[in-house]
Amino acid sequence: MSTDPIFDPLRRVAEQTPAGDPAPLRRLGDRRRVHRRQVVGAVAVVAVLAAGAGVLVAQLIGPPPSRPIAPSPAVTASPIPGPGDRLEDAEVPRAEDFEWGEGITFDGYRASVVDDVAISRCQQAGTGSLGATDTRLVEVSSDVTAAAVVMAFPDEAAAGRAWSTLQRWGEECGSTLEQEGTPPVVGPTTLDVPVPRGRAGYVSVAVDAGDEPGLWVDYGTTQVGDRVVLATFESVGQDFSWDAEPGGPVGQTYPMIRTLQNMNERLAR
């Protein structure tokens, strides 16, 4: 043990620093663990419970009580589903729509009907608050966590409101992450995504993952008519170099840009 007296002033700091009560720290740690499980595990929970327990699901995957929930767009009261209010299988994203780069493949495809789901930590509420008449969740397996939700709305205006809300959640992702105790270390960066029809937007943000390398969160949305897709990637580790626009030095645009373009094209067919 060092007894060098030159360091005594800092040893006194150690003695004079009260530890306080550890219980609040454990509670915060528990909250993070629960929230992470909700985001990552919500897909499975919702798929099981969606059949008859929509309200319970909303409570399970909803944000923590302390987090302010943004007002939802106006929702048509009890819409009577028409032919266009239901999604066709051809509109639901496929495994090949998810793109990354060399060494990463997406398989283990699963699609399910859900009422309400949170697939990204940027979401301020479950998708149930957006007023969709039909929602499908798509999960794929990979080293990169990836998921997408495609939603049908009664009309283009309702879809536009939902898209704007999703887009705002992405733009506000930095403060959402800060409230969760994982403030961004890079971004959020917002990019417009060129798509053949409708519109699309993409937000990228990285958080410090503590003992692990950085966690990159990609959050993308696209709207075509009365359909909206939300797609998300979460990857741990060093960021890769991608181009923001085609023809860049890397030769490949960001994975979320390519993924959103694929999903947009599927809806535009």
Binding site: S2, P9, Q16, T17, L28, G29, D30, D208
Partner: protein, 164 residues
């Protein structure tokens, strides 16, 4: 690790970790925040902590990384560092000696500062310091010797300027 073990670890190591991070980053309030944040992450990921050979070493490394990360962000954003926690905490006013020592430490190269903190404040033997920083023992000994000499010089310089 159960809650009782966590609480014991927290109570026995919090002050010491704060002093170590303070010595590294030079800001006591920031050091307290970073150590608290490290404990939150430790509880969140307690399976990781169970696997760590030294829970205190894991906490020290995590708290230091948080401090570095916040410093980078505050520089990038040109704003005050974030406060992850709002828990009220009594902070003793800094005494002149600890401020002078911390200022002098900040003027040392970071690798010298790190081995000094690990050896003299965390009380790690040279072999463990070498393991933690990933350097040979001889290098650690040289950094300790040079750092200690530089520190003595900086402190006497600071005393002389105060007496003028």
């Amino acid at each position: 690790m159960d809650s009782e073990e966590f609480d014991v670890l927290y109570r026995t190591s919090f002050g010491s970790l704060v002093a170590q991070v303070y010595a590294m980053c030079g800001n006591r309030a920031e050091a307290q925040d970073c150590v608290q944040e490290a404990f939150i992450r430790a509880w969140d990921k307690r399976h990781t902590l169970d696997r760590a050979s030294s829970p205190e070493g894991w906490l020290r490394t995590t708290a230091y990384r948080i401090a570095v990360s916040r410093w980078r962000r505050s520089r990038l954003a040109r704003r005050a560092p974030d406060r992850a926690l709002q828990q009220e905490r009594a902070v003793e006013p800094p005494d002149i000696e600890s401020v002078a020592l911390t200022r002098a430490l900040q003027r040392l190269p970071v690798e010298q500062r790190r081995v000094i903190v690990l050896h003299h404040l965390a009380d790690l033997p040279v072999a463990e310091v070498a393991r933690e920083v990933g350097a040979p023992e001889g290098t650690v000994k040289a950094r300790l010797s040079r750092g200690r000499a530089a520190l003595a010089h900086l402190l006497s310089e600071s005393e002389r300027s105060e007496h003028r």
